[in-house]
Symmetry: C2
Subunit: 344 residues, 2 copies
Amino acid sequence: MMQARVMGIRDVAESAGFSVTTVSHVLNDVPGKRIADSTRERIREAADRLGYRPNRLAQGLRSQRTHSIGFVSDNIATTPFAGQMIHGAQAAAADAGSLLMLLSSDGDAELEDVEIRALIDRQVDGIIYASMFHRVVTPPVRLRNTSAVLLDARTETGEFSSVVPDEVGGARAAVEELLSHGHRRIGFATDTSDIPATRGRLIGYRQALEVYGVAFDESLVHASGGEAAGGFSSALELLSRPDRPTGLFCFTDRIAMGAYQAAAELNMSVPEDVSIVGFDDQEIISTNLRPGLTTMALPHYEMGKWAVNTLLDQINNGGNTPVVHQLSACPLVRRASVSSPPRA
Amino acid sequence: MMQARVMGIRDVAESAGFSVTTVSHVLNDVPGKRIADSTRERIREAADRLGYRPNRLAQGLRSQRTHSIGFVSDNIATTPFAGQMIHGAQAAAADAGSLLMLLSSDGDAELEDVEIRALIDRQVDGIIYASMFHRVVTPPVRLRNTSAVLLDARTETGEFSSVVPDEVGGARAAVEELLSHGHRRIGFATDTSDIPATRGRLIGYRQALEVYGVAFDESLVHASGGEAAGGFSSALELLSRPDRPTGLFCFTDRIAMGAYQAAAELNMSVPEDVSIVGFDDQEIISTNLRPGLTTMALPHYEMGKWAVNTLLDQINNGGNTPVVHQLSACPLVRRASVSSPPRA
DNA sequence: ATGAAAGCGCTAACAC
DNA sequence: GTGTTAGCGCTTTCAT
């Protein structure tokens, strides 16, 4: 383990025959410094030869910039989306030469505060405050002591820049996919929680119907307690009606999974007897269902990227950036669960 | 943004009327220092009053210990397991006052090397080198310049401490679950990849049969190209035989999902007509399938924890720790997909 | 075109 | 019991 000896800027200076100042100048490409090309070359050569690597800690201490950003999330283990957000964030950070410091609070507000403190103690340049599902949050006040951007979340008052998925637009596109295939009776198997997603997707559902001049029929929207089991019972009920819908818009892919089970139970096949579109594009479900599920993708990767890019801008501008609230589009992912309605 | 002014150890010293040395001693509880209780108190009070927080960068620079550890993984977005490993690692790190710096290489070896360098430049205390599925890896040589432990991976030569799931034991337990319910013809729907998981689980399958004195029948193991579609065709074939198995051990939950689909196709129900046990406990599948899937959990959280604890030990002992290769047990998660075989 | 020297905030010999 | 002082490895002002 451990290299022979780790070379510092002084070793480079000595070896190249210049002062540390000059070495620092050339290695950091400090602008507006008149330095002989030959000098630059000799210094670079020496640095390479010695395998010099700047100590980022020392740099950070001196320059007040650590090139590391904190990522606090309420959860990370139990949601398949965390990975995408983190990945997007990490990719954007890496592009800018920064690293992510990751922390999960498991929803414990006190712990969250401790974690943010730990991050600030480490002099992170800023913090991404992430939620694993779109919601309204109230971050610890301490978050105001830093640059911060909200990911998949918003505060009541909108004080931080934030990015969330476009629930309304996504739902509208989902239902339009069904409408454009000729469906006119379209059920909505939704969730009982009162969160931005349920509200937004219902609005989108209605908007799409309106665009196509289809009257909204309240009895066609059925809410249940999330997950496949809820989707199963919602769909079972909806599909058992004499005037059953020919298309089903499901609040999540998990609910769609339940809808598939209900269809099987009723000996109906997808999409011949009933077309289904989901939401989330949880690939493990959407690609493994038979037939593959047409669904709206949640733009987690893009949101993660947007969040750190915005944070970085904010940091680089010394906090003089306007607060912006970004809506991120949910693209339609076509697979095989939508066709024309049965002839009847 | 930004607090009024951030207090340093000097402010505390001044305010308390002692030297920075003494402040450092009491705030860090340095052992073997004789300091008056009254002094301790006054210093603590001053620190609290001023809201003093040590600058971890400066501490790290001086003490050569940053209390941050790097986590490099080949992937993070597209696997549902990443979250669990990261969470376990982060939890263990947090317990020890350390933070995780996260990096994903997307399988790009060159990038991986760059990332490890970036981590070392930031003076991380050590590095977790993680794979998102159990495999044999060859990490960049640079990894030897630090303390490192392998997570869900091993090298050919076993030079780093490592932790991987006990594939053999898990598979044996899975098949024994079937055997103990009375099944004697048990199919194995596996994957075609040649990786530790396929090899180990086949061994476990055979061991369990042997324990129960059931002869191994090669025609009962059917390999396909992963995912639900493969499981569907494997199971369809296995279950269509005249001497069809009454129990199915599936290489993954995704394959089990395909097996459910095949059972439905054949109008067989789970578990009445066929009992199924999976592997992985991908909850999004295992809990949402109907009926719930009995499966073997992959101990990702525990492995993540073990990895950083072991790394931390290694760091604290200055690298004089023996290399250890840990097998982590895969617990059985009983749900509703196993019962006694049909009377026939 | 280059360098001396101060100092980022802290720890740890070593004095007293 | 407590304080002085010398750095950790680097950036940056200011001289020259």
